[in-house]
Point group: C2
Chain length 122, copies 2
């Protein structure tokens, strides 16, 4: 259990941002007697997911959907089947992004190679 300032430091995001994520339902930390937020390992894992998701260009609504997927406390066959279907779809998206990024990487490498050659031959 850590405080909001600790969490803020650990992940390099402002406390405002963390509170905002709570505001829109992405986090729901416990409170102390004095009403201070206390973050569990589960909360920490969630924030990690959020921060990473943002880095890949997902917006907070999309991330919210993914959190549901990563939230392991689900039961009922129907619910689980839905989760699996949705998860596979998201996995496909991630796959596509990886492939495109790899293509981009290749293009950049070719370009750099060309530049280095031109530099050598002049």
């Amino acid at each position: 259990m850590i405080s909001i300032s600790q969490l803020s430091e650990d992940f390099d995001v402002t406390t405002r941002t963390i509170r905002y994520y709570e505001e829109i339902g992405l986090l729901s930390p416990e409170r102390t007697d004095g009403n201070r937020r206390m973050y569990s390992n589960k909360d920490i894992a969630r924030l990690k997911l959020i921060v990473r998701g943002k880095k890949y260009g997902f917006n907070l609504d999309e991330i919210k959907e993914m959190i549901v997927l990563f939230d392991k406390d689900r039961s009922g066959k129907a619910q689980m089947k839905k989760t699996i279907t949705y998860g596979k779809k998201k996995l496909e998206e991630v796959n596509e992004r990886i492939e495109e990024l790899q293509q981009m990487k290749t293009e950049m490498e070719v370009l750099l190679w060309e530049f280095e050659n031109r530099l050598r031959n002049e």
Copy 2:
């Protein structure tokens, strides 16, 4: 050479967005006698870069920097060396994103596998 509406259709972005990219210096199409924008293959390649960049979570300022890299009309040894250095840095960033995305993919796969197992064993 294609029109703005053609370009808009081809890339599934609005004409407003295309004009905005021009406004901030990401595109600079030629004009016809009647002042209409005409987009060359080079412009089209740029827009492709922009759209793709956005998808990966780069903002337009970062994309602007990358466009400079992908712009092949550079000369002078010093300039080229700078470009190569900068390009390698960007390549590193792309590499990192790929690796993190792959880690994320693995996690999702594990999770889905667990779900499917639970579904089978109940």
